[in-house]
Amino acid sequence: MAVVTPGGVDAAGVATTAAPATSPATPIAGRRWDRAVILFLGPTALLMLIFLIYPTLYTIALSFNRGRRGEFTEWVGLQHYIGLLNDKSFINLSTFPPSGAIWNNVLWAIFYTGFVIFLGLVVAVLASRVRYESIIKAVVFLPMAIAATALAIIWNFVYAPDPNIGLLNAILDPFTSGSISWLGNPALVNAALIAAGIWGSVGFATVILSAALKSIPSEVLEAARTDGANERQIFFRIILPMVSLPISVLAVTLLVNVIKLFDLIYVLTNGGPGVSSRVIAFTMYNESIPGGQFGRGAAITVIMLLLLIPIMAFNIRRFRSSRVV
């Protein structure tokens, strides 16, 4: 929910005070209903209506229909949803640990979100102590610039079983007998993918948390030091509570990333080996476009929407509390 303010980035809404708290947008005086709105808003409204709102409603309706060839043929109620819940590749709770696309998203939500925030905080705190802070931040941020497709190729090299290609197997070569197939082993593939995802996103967390850390007044830290607080106490009792809001905003952003995650999986494993690294957005694509199961694809999209609605509500609430609409 960051806003670019004239003063620079308000890192993910860290300093909401930077934006005016009162509704600034009282329109230009003396005008009640400005007809120029039709010119300024008309084309946008039309495009969003046809290409955004109509497809959303269509997809929701289609999820309750047979949906052959994407058309409304026969109403089937919740059949697609029930079918998905019984599909072991979508969600399988009968084994321990559970498996399936939904479960993989849960793994992503826990480990990707957790490690990105943790490592982002570590890098931000460590980098703030040295002179070359901006270089470290740029290095860690670099993967954010590149396509997920390129990131997938980079990690396809790192994970390659051939020790002349795969950096990881080359490093582990003296300690293991034979190379490890990181992406070919169902027990390792999700951890390997999540690690690549973490590598790609830590820079984002670092930049946001670093801005938040810098917003802590230095007098507060100095006062604590003079009072004899050690570094550990300062971290846990001052820094951590003061960055808890940016952390929660960051966590929400990362969860949205997880729900929408597609490119990395599609390029690196295509959901495999077998179905073991599928995630929800991958399954949606796979069922709909190559699979032609449009009704089922629509049902998966609705599940994605349902997962995103609490986040949508969170954003609207944050938005309304930061400025009066």
């Binding site: 230009i28 005086a29 209903w33 396509a147 954003n315």
Partner: protein, 295 residues
């Protein structure tokens, strides 16, 4: 905040020794940051080095050993650009990305101006709707828009993907730019109004020139978003000769998964423009990316 449990003011001597401790504490920090830098650089550097190594070398030694051999070549790039069609794919990506950036840039600026400085019924409710639409995943568009586009021939041109990218870029653009536009000085706009400037005139001569940083940040974000996109292209670009680089590289990987020299060079061609943008426009780029975190 200063109420750290059981603490009391300490004498100066302790502050000095604390400084000494903090100085010595820096060595582990440098080591930790060194390790972090290596972890974040090695995979990308490895890809870059590999892309310049002869195919025969890649098969027998690791890229980390190539610094001793020092045999590098541009042949991989020639091969992937010419015979693997990456040059065409590069221009396809460009031809997808430029209109998919410019159209939403213009439309979102105009809409954001309406939401910030013009009066019309249900303005605030409609803006909340825009905020809600920020979260809509692109997946909702696949089936309905494929149905909608099928009879029009748009799927045989870039029209379909331009429209799809534009629609999904608009809520974020409106949100971002509106929040910038409302911070513009009210007096300035009132004064222009009193001097007889029209609504369009105020937009063109005051709002847009004063908002260049925000518009640039959004433009860069949107450009890279489209440049790096694979999913929309998979769905809305159906002709093989129109594929962007992301799809071409994914294709290369699934067809010739062990042709490492081609993959490395291809991936670097894809990364080239975003890296240039990153290094030359880092300020705007980071702003746009942070602001884009809602998307």
């Amino acid at each position: 905040m200063t109420a750290v449990a059981g603490s009391r003011p300490t004498e100066r001597a302790l502050t000095t020794s604390e400084r000494l401790v903090r100085f010595m504490n820096k060595t582990p920090i440098h080591i930790a940051l060194g390790i972090i830098a290596v972890i974040w650089l090695a995979p990308t550097v490895g890809l870059l080095v590999t892309s310049f190594r002869p195919r025969s070398d890649i098969q027998v030694t690791g890229w980390w050993e190539s610094f001793l051999q020092f045999r590098y070549t541009l042949e991989n790039y020639q091969q992937v650009l010419a015979s693997q069609g990456m040059l065409d794919a590069f221009f396809n990506t460009l031809w997808i990305a430029v209109p998919s950036t410019l159209i939403p840039l213009v439309l979102a600026s105009m809409a954001a101006y309406a939401f910030s400085w013009l009066n019309f019924p249900f303005r605030d409710a409609l803006f909340l709707l825009v905020v809600a639409l920020l979260m809509i995943p692109v997946q909702v568009a696949f089936i309905p828009l494929l149905k909608l586009f099928a009879p029009t021939g748009l799927l045989n041109s870039y029209g379909a993907i331009w429209l799809a990218h534009t629609a999904f870029a608009l809520p974020f653009g409106i949100f971002l730019l509106r929040n910038f536009f409302i911070t513009l000085p009210r007096d300035l706009i009132e004064a222009a109004r009193i001097d007889g400037a029209s609504t369009v005139g105020i937009f063109r001569q005051i709002v847009v020139p004063l908002s260049v940083p925000a518009i640039a940040a959004y433009g860069i974000f949107q450009f890279l978003w489209v440049w790096n996109d694979l999913l929309m292209a998979l769905v809305f670009v159906q002709r093989g000769d129109m594929w962007p680089m992301t799809k071409a590289i994914q294709n290369l990987l699934s067809q010739y998964g062990t042709e490492w020299h081609l993959l490395a060079a291809g991936a670097f061609i894809l990364m080239f423009v975003p890296l240039i943008v990153f290094f030359s426009l880092q300020r705007y780029f980071v702003q746009g990316l942070l602001a884009g975190s809602v998307k």
